[in-house]
């Protein structure tokens, strides 16, 4: 039992619930930023490879995940003055219940896999899975395009959690490439968001249902 890690991870789980509950975009973004920061410091706390390179990389991650990405999305909102609701398909209370449910489910599922470095923490794998599924949940349950992008970011956080902490042999250059990819992805999504806003002067994806069959 590794107190600091588990406290941090439980914070992450909490952030999931917050994100499900929050009805306003700025709040959601703040939650995501917070989540990004925590997720990126986990490796340090678990504390394998405390090399300079590792630390540098962690800082880079922290800046990108915790600051750059949320910031650029926040700016995107500012720029195009989008209405601030996340326009839920599934209501907030239902979402919260679903969040609790999927956390439990994640714990159950994680028991099927015996994690190699479960020495690090028992909560690690469940949290990762929970983040992943929660991200997809946001993607499915929010009509607002920006909320969907945020869901995608949450997924990425989950994967990052799995990656950096489980696999020992992470080459930083490679991970950095991944990070850049994610960043570029979010950038492009932000651009598309602005275009959507200009074209439909709304980011409600209900408008994006013309192409079918």
């Amino acid at each position: 039992m590794n107190i600091p890690v588990d406290t941090i991870l439980s914070l992450v789980l909490l952030s999931i619930l917050f994100s499900f509950g929050s009805s306003r975009l700025p709040g959601l973004i703040k939650v995501l930023a917070f989540q990004g920061v925590i997720v990126s410091i986990v490796p340090l706390v678990i504390g394998h490879d405390l090399t300079t390179g590792g630390i540098l990389f962690t800082l880079a991650t922290l800046t990108i995940r915790g600051i750059v990405i949320p910031l650029c999305i926040y700016l995107a909102i500012k720029r195009v003055a989008i209405r601030r609701e996340v326009e839920p398909i599934v209501g907030y209370h239902a979402s919260l219940l679903a969040g609790l449910g999927l956390i439990v489910a994640a714990v159950v599922v994680s028991h099927r896999f015996e994690a190699p470095s479960s020495s690090a923490s028992v909560l690690l794998l469940p949290t990762a899975i929970a983040l992943l599924v929660a991200g997809m949940f946001l993607l499915m349950a929010r009509r607002n395009a920006i909320a969907m992008v945020l869901g995608y970011i949450m997924m990425e956080n989950g994967i990052y959690l799995v990656g950096t902490t489980f696999s020992v042999r992470a080459l930083h250059i490679v991970e950095f490439g991944i990070l850049l990819d994610v960043l570029a992805g979010v950038m492009i999504m932000a651009i598309i968001l602005q275009n959507i806003k200009q074209t439909f002067d709304d980011v409600d994806t209900a408008l994006l249902r013309t192409l079918k069959e």
Binding site: V162, G163, D181, I192
Partner: protein, 473 residues
């Protein structure tokens, strides 16, 4: 010095963003030619890469690379003519993204490190997104949005899958570079549970990109909204790149003795894709979407063949090559039709045989080729896939395959005949310049020749690629 092959188009691509169209178009063609030259050199010399940890020259990679550069060269020639006919705002972005797209795809074919492969494939998504949004319409925007989001989500899962595979190394206490080649050699020591999980995620992830149902949903929108040269690239090459990732992972599974598991899953997804394609081909109203769904169908056949293994895998490889050649030619042809009739609806077209005879030849032989009729290569590919399936004893699967092939043919033939022979009042302004039809002819001719004679080196390369998944014919 392998890396130059994808660095060169990267550089020119970046340049292309900042040059006027007068320079951009020749740059496109020149890069295409240069790339073709480089990859042929690569084929002959088989040099060592600089960063061995990340890149390697594998037979399957070489195959895809050759196909890519041939296609891109021809498509670039067509593109120039196409751009003259149609007006595209911000053409430099289009050209630049084409080149970047090329470079990222080349990177996919050469990458050997799992993560690098992932980076490259994600990069292809980002590079091709602007291509789909070229027309700046609401529909194209929607298509782009779906493309980027769905593919990103899918590929995120692929990333997770790659991570899981590295975990399987940790669990199995294997110490080897995280590259496909290395993993294949030590596959037996990997922990099967995590490996399976990894394969599952990678299949779904790259499968999203490859257009396997039910993750195919972005494909028809993107292909129909993108300008035809881009669609040709997407359908002819991008799907192969995604398939490459699955293929290599499947190699690991085979080596790890989990071939049955992966084969079953591949066959399942293959059949589902074929059925899904059939569903929408039957009553399709737009010809570009029709072609897109037919790509899904062919990807399904390829996945099925790979899952079958043996003769089936060989057939799948043939299908892969020929599908790239033929489908890209079909998309270029659809570009002509769009320029001629000015509508993507099948009902608005008709009497192609008289109005655009040259295009008709390309179109109808393309249709015959894609539906597996000789003398084009997909025929032999499908033949081998079916026979291999029966050889491997997958009677049920093969039956479903054959039946759905019948249905799809019925649907496709109906639409193709409407376009070609139905009476139409449309007035065609387009003049069929050589550069608007020759690329298609060359592609079809290549497929025709490859149906009867495969150069020995090519054959050996295919065999090397397949042998790992081959239980002997």
């Amino acid at each position: 010095m392998v890396e130059i092959v994808f660095l060169a188009p990267f550089v020119t691509g970046v340049i292309a963003f900042f040059v006027p169209r007068s320079l951009g178009r020749p740059l496109l063609v020149l890069t295409g030619a240069l790339h073709l030259l480089l990859s042929i050199l690569l084929w002959i010399r088989q040099p060592e890469p600089l960063f061995k940890a990340y890149f390697a020259v594998t037979p399957e990679g070489m195959l895809s690379l050759l196909v890519i550069s041939l296609l891109f060269f021809l498509i670039s020639i067509y593109t120039v003519a196409y751009l003259q006919e149609s007006d595209i705002k911000a053409e430099n972005i289009f050209t630049g993204s084409m080149l970047l797209f090329l470079s990222t795809m080349t990177m996919v074919t050469l990458s050997d490190h799992i993560m690098v492969m992932w980076i490259a494939i994600e990069a292809t998504t980002l590079a091709s997104a602007p291509l789909i949004y070229t027309h700046r319409t609401g529909a194209s925007l929607e298509a782009t949005w779906k493309y980027v989001l769905i593919c990103s989500v899918g590929i995120a899962l692929a990333l997770l899958g790659s991570v899981l595979i590295t975990i399987s190394m940790d669990v199995g206490q294997v110490d080897a570079p995280v590259s496909f080649s290395a993993l294949t050699s030590v596959a037996t020591q990997l922990d099967p549970l995590w490996l399976k999980a990894g394969f599952a995620f990678i299949l779904v992830g790259y499968g999203t990109k490859m257009g396997l149902a039910p993750m195919h949903t972005w494909l028809p929108d993107a292909h129909s909204e993108a300008p035809s040269p881009a669609s040709a690239l997407l359908s002819g090459v991008l799907l192969n790149c995604a398939y490459l990732g699955i293929f290599k992972t499947n190699k690991i599974m085979q080596a790890a003795g989990l071939g049955d598991f992966s084969g079953m899953i591949l066959m399942g997804f293959g059949l589902v894709s074929i059925l899904a394609a059939g569903t929408f081909i039957l009553k399709q109203t737009e010809y570009k979407r029709l072609l897109a769904y037919s790509s899904i169908e062919n990807m399904g056949i390829i996945a099925f063949g790979t899952g079958v293994g043996g003769l089936g895998a060989y057939g799948a490889m043939l299908c892969l090559i020929h599908h790239s050649l033929i489908k890209s030619s079909l998309f270029l042809t659809s570009g002509n039709i769009l320029l001629g009739y000015g509508s993507r609806l099948i009902d608005k077209t008709g009497n192609l045989v008289n109005l655009m005879p040259k295009t008709f030849v390309a179109f109808f032989s393309g249709f015959a080729a894609i539906s597996g009729l000789p003398p084009f290569g997909i025929f032999i590919g499908e033949l081998f896939v079916v026979m291999g399936a029966f050889k491997a004893g997958h009677y049920a699967g093969a039956t479903v395959l054959v039946v759905s092939l019948c249905v799809i043919f019925a649907g496709f033939a109906n639409q193709a005949m409407k376009i070609s022979f139905n009476s139409s009042e449309a007035a065609i302004s387009l003049k069929e310049r050589a550069s608007l039809v020759l690329p298609q002819y060359v592609l079809l001719a290549t497929s025709l020749i490859l149906c009867f004679w495969i150069p020995d080196t090519l054959y050996r390369t295919i065999m090397n690629a397949v042998t790992s998944v081959t239980g002997g014919f």
